[in-house]
Subunit: 218 residues, 2 copies
């Protein structure tokens, strides 16, 4: 019964290939993995591409909770006790390749394979900490500081292979949704940052270290 007793279990291999209760799916840019209100009966492991998690409020306002990249899990709310509903919508930003794992299979494997539950736990811990940091940021800071912080965080987001400080293409609308303000406000601050030399952009945004001054200094 326990796989680990007979064969060596490799979480990387598990998350890279199809199998019982799991298969590889491709999601085109702007298509959704799942939408808010859907039944939460599976979890995705993002192999390639970028995606985002958004929520819409009662009166149609939209908020972006987080951006997701390769190695992230999507839809972990499916693993709670009872089968519930999706609380957010997961949308592909670029074309994505992901492993779709059925709820039962994921629960089983997490239960039986330490190595995989380690991977998952690490992800969940990191995510939980990041969201908590976002909440704290929201509680403490003004829109301007929140924008500065998000820009700095995203400058790291692109792997340290690229000439860092170059931010993946993103619209002011999405930035506004992430920091909880309006698009016009983002536009206003972006230009202020640019005037002060904290950032520069023609097409994509390049963040200068000096932007830290906005976040750090009172």
């Amino acid at each position: 019964m326990l796989r680990s007793e007979s064969t060596k279990f490799d979480p990387a291999a598990f998350l890279a290939s199809a199998g019982l209760g799991r298969r590889i799916v491709r999601v085109k840019a702007k298509d959704v993995f799942f939408a808010q209100g859907n039944t939460a009966d599976c979890i995705f492991y993002l192999q390639a591409g970028r995606a985002k998690l958004t929520v819409v409020s009662a009166r149609g306002k939209e908020a972006t909770i987080t951006l997701l990249g390769p190695g992230d899990f999507i839809g972990e709310e499916s693993l709670t006790g009872a089968v519930g509903l999706r609380m957010a919508t997961a949308t592909a930003i670029t074309a994505c390749t992901a492993l779709k794992i059925e709820r039962e299979e994921m629960v089983r494997v997490i239960h039986e394979e330490h190595t995989l539950s380690d991977v998952f736990l690490k992800f969940l811990l990191a995510r939980s900490i990041r969201i908590q940091a976002d909440l704290v940021d929201q509680l403490f800071n003004s829109s301007e500081k929140r924008l500065a912080r998000i820009l700095l965080l995203m400058a790291e987001f692109g792997q340290p292979g690229e000439p860092e400080s170059l931010i993946p293409k993103i619209t002011q609308e999405t930035l506004a949704e992430m920091i909880g303000t309006t698009r016009s406000r983002v536009s206003f601050f972006m230009n202020r940052f640019r005037k002060h030399g904290f950032i520069e952009y023609n097409g994509r945004i390049r963040v200068h270290k000096s932007l830290l001054n906005i976040v750090l200094h009172d």
Copy 2:
């Protein structure tokens, strides 16, 4: 080596008693479990009492992230890869009894005992979802709605043994810290709620279901 192969492992028993790498501690009301900036080398399992998690900003403003009760873990950031620092301060609200588990021991047990890692995973998932909901609330709603929501959530907080809708004693200051506004603003809204009959209070706060109207209706 693997405990589960020889003896039956009982997570409830583990979390209820002292042992190797873990011991029971008592924390008086207003004393701290740990403070922001401390080395994160252990995790607590709260057996009895109530506690809160707070963060202070650069310029001394304070935010309350969450309230904690029996069955909650405190200080899970200690389980991330490298040994880091506490990102928040955990303070006892009432006298607390908790199991203090050393980082290494917790990592070991989570790794070796499915039943405990299940318990921990469930906690982490719930917490992560709750904090995400708080973030969404913060992104969408006005101070007034946030206050209404927190009050409603806390009305559930007291176990369904008590005549529910009676909120555990809490100051306006703490409420203000939780929803990210000023104390005077909380005072203002509380009186408005009271005038409309949504809540009543002499010493402790009693929440009426009608308060839902504030949260739900546009």
